[in-house]
Amino acid sequence: MVPRINSMNTVTKANTVTSKNTVTTEKEAFAGSPTIQTATPTEISQEQFALEILNLDSWYGDFQALHGVTIKIPRNQVTAFIGPSGCGKSTLLRWCNRMNDTIAIARASGTLRMGDTDLLSKSIDVVDLRRRVGIVFQKANPFPKSIFDNVAFGPRLHMKANRSELADLVEWSLRKAALWDEVKDRLNKPALGLSGGQQQRLCIARAIAVGPEVLLMDEPCSALDPASTLAIEDLMDELRTQYTIVIVTHNMQQASRCSDKTAFFFEGKVVEYGPTDRIFTNPENKQTEDYVSGRFG
């Protein structure tokens, strides 16, 4: 156990440095991204931000979970949301692809934009939205089907792909999720036979198989062991070249290792938002400082 933990620490540190330096240069390595047909080059130049959240309020029944949240999430970077439990991180995330629609008492007002699309409007097609904004949850939730069927689930819903196209797509997604080599010989085995970390990567593969532009991750590593966490962090690092990633985490170390920007939430408000380096080394706000230094929470 000991060596694994040590190696984890070293490797992630190295990664963090690399990725941060290469964010801008790697944007060009865009070919092969499924987002290319929806995000045309002109659009890219127009907007720097994948998601713009302006003054968003949100309620569960009478309880206000978010108070005037304003965050602009940059394209092709990793943005981390941190904050104590119950501060509204997940709520905000779940508005970004309208997963909150499944909660009858959830309401929101304010602006939540993706390009020109108002994500909060009634008329928006949530099915299409969710294809464009994928989500990965805290607990890996593979379907009780085969590995192949898990990844092919989304494409089957949305595309008129034939068998070989589907196979290509599954392979590609699993490769992207760094899972291909581990599962290529047992694609027809039940996904529930995979380990926790593999399951979580499978869920990521499943999410990218429908070609989303944004990938939301709600504490994707909190149920995983250190080695799997490491694998997921590496994966995020690779995916950021093609996807805009938003990650919620309770693990300060993780946030500082993996993200480009960090937002600190407290009681439904964004207390501080800025480049990760600054938030962790030189926070402007006393609360932020207390939190990131582990003095409360």
Binding site: F143, P144, L157, R206, V210
Partner: protein, 419 residues
């Protein structure tokens, strides 16, 4: 709270004496004995019940009991028509109840109401289902009698008309019985026509015969035949071959019919369909509730996963929730069906006590079911009938136990962990 103590420091507090342990341990012991004794007596009751049935019924168990129709002589009596009646009624009941029940459960669990009014209606349906589950089955029997058997009296049968209100899947023949003891069948063109007068040259059929000369009673293999019509003045034919096709000119016909298994008429009468629909009322709430529980047991993370991939609600149900819930639903359904198999009161109300020798042939056929046959025999005073009743009970219990065993198997084998 005495005033003094609120001021006083905790240090001056006197400590009450500890209680003796012996008394508490004794209570503990006796209570555990009571529990064990009670649980044992519950099992003992079951054993007593089983013993009482087995001791009466095992000697009566025989192939005769399975294969014979009920007879006045207990030695010869059997449960065949009741057995097939049960099979028919329960199969029909399952076919109707499962889709409706599962659909209702899906509606309530997977399609949350979108508006206040919708929420109110859902609440009403949910409340209603839990109430329906508590309605005694005999009340359903009475409802079935009015709603299905007689259809609120809306379709009173016309005496002179041969047909009932509405029919489907039936071909009628006029049946004559020839002088040579053969059935001569003449197709009926118009159901409301009075019986025809026979004349030579009519389109007539007889049943085919196999190599041994035995009749094959099969309407699809009818053989066209020439009938020979005579009057009383004509000489009576001697030749058996001729006699077989000979009818007197004033011969009268009975209506017989070839009814497909799906023969359908309105009103249903005291037939299989009415029985099945009545049982449907009884087990529908059970199936809805157990399906709801099975659906609820599917982790919502799976739903969220599918929704997050852009699936519509029905796609979520079809591809994720329903497959995951199927073992649970099946288990519930099997248990509900075993309830249907054992139900007596509603069937008694629908069908009455009848002496039926044949297994039902179609949806509208008269029927009896195993429990009803058992009830019938139970209410006879002779010991011999009690014994065959117990034999019938053993058969019934064997069916039910195998149903339960299947349910347990499904629960254990098929129910994969979902997360």
């Amino acid at each position: 709270m005495p005033e003094s103590s609120s001021q006083s420091n905790s240090d001056q507090r006197s400590t009450p004496e500890l209680r003796g342990r012996a008394g508490r341990m004794l209570t503990e012991k006796w209570f555990s004995y009571l529990c064990v004794a009670t649980a044992t007596s519950s099992v003992a009751v079951l054993c007593w019940l089983l013993y009482s049935i087995l001791s009466h019924g095992l000697p009566a168990l025989s192939w005769t009991l399975l294969s014979n129709p009920p007879e006045p002589d207990p030695e010869q009596a059997g449960v065949r028509p009741a057995f097939f009646g049960t099979v028919w009624v329960c199969a029909m009941c399952g076919l109707m109840t499962l889709p409706i029940g599962i659909a209702t459960a899906i509606l309530l669990e997977e399609f949350p109401p979108k508006s206040k009014l919708g929420g109110w209606v859902y609440g009403l349906i949910q409340l209603n289902i839990s109430n329906l589950a508590g309605v005694p089955s005999v009340v359903y029997g009475i409802l079935g009698l009015t709603a299905f058997v007689s259809m609120f009296g809306l379709f009173e049968r016309d005496q002179d008309s041969q047909s009932s209100g509405f029919e489907l899947g039936v071909t009628y023949y006029n049946q004559f019985f020839s002088e040579g003891d053969r059935a001569i069948l003449i197709p009926v063109e118009n159901v409301d026509d009075k019986l025809s007068v026979v004349s030579e040259g009519m389109e007539a059929y007889t049943f085919a015969r196999d190599a041994d000369g035995a009749t094959i009673v099969d309407y699809s293999k009818l053989v066209p035949t020439e009938i020979n019509v005579i009057t009383y003045d004509d000489p009576y034919p001697e030749d058996p071959a001729v006699l077989e096709n000979t009818l007197f000119a004033d011969a009268e016909a009975g209506r017989v019919s070839q009814k497909s298994w799906y023969y359908f008429q309105v009103p249903f009468g005291r037939g299989v369909l009415a029985g099945a629909m009545t049982l449907m009322l009884v087990i529908l709430p059970v199936i809805i509730i157990s399906s709801q529980e099975a659906l609820r047991a599917v982790p919502s993370s799976l739903r969220a996963g599918a929704l997050g991939l852009g699936a519509t609600p029905w796609q979520v149900v079809r591809t994720v929730t329903l497959p995951a819930a199927i073992p649970g639903i099946m288990t519930g359904a099997i248990l509900a069906m075993s309830r249907a198999i054992g139900e007596t009161a509603p069937i008694l109300i629908i069908a009455g006590i009848v002496y039926i020798r044949n297994a039902p042939q179609h949806l509208m056929d008269d029927f009896t079911v195993m429990p009803l046959q058992i009830y019938n025999w139970t209410s006879r005073p002779q010991e011999a009938f009690h014994d065959i009743a117990a034999g019938g009970i053993i058969i019934l219990l064997a069916i039910l136990l195998s149903f339960n065993a299947i349910a347990v198997l499904i629960r254990q084998k098929m129910q994969k962990p979902l997360s």
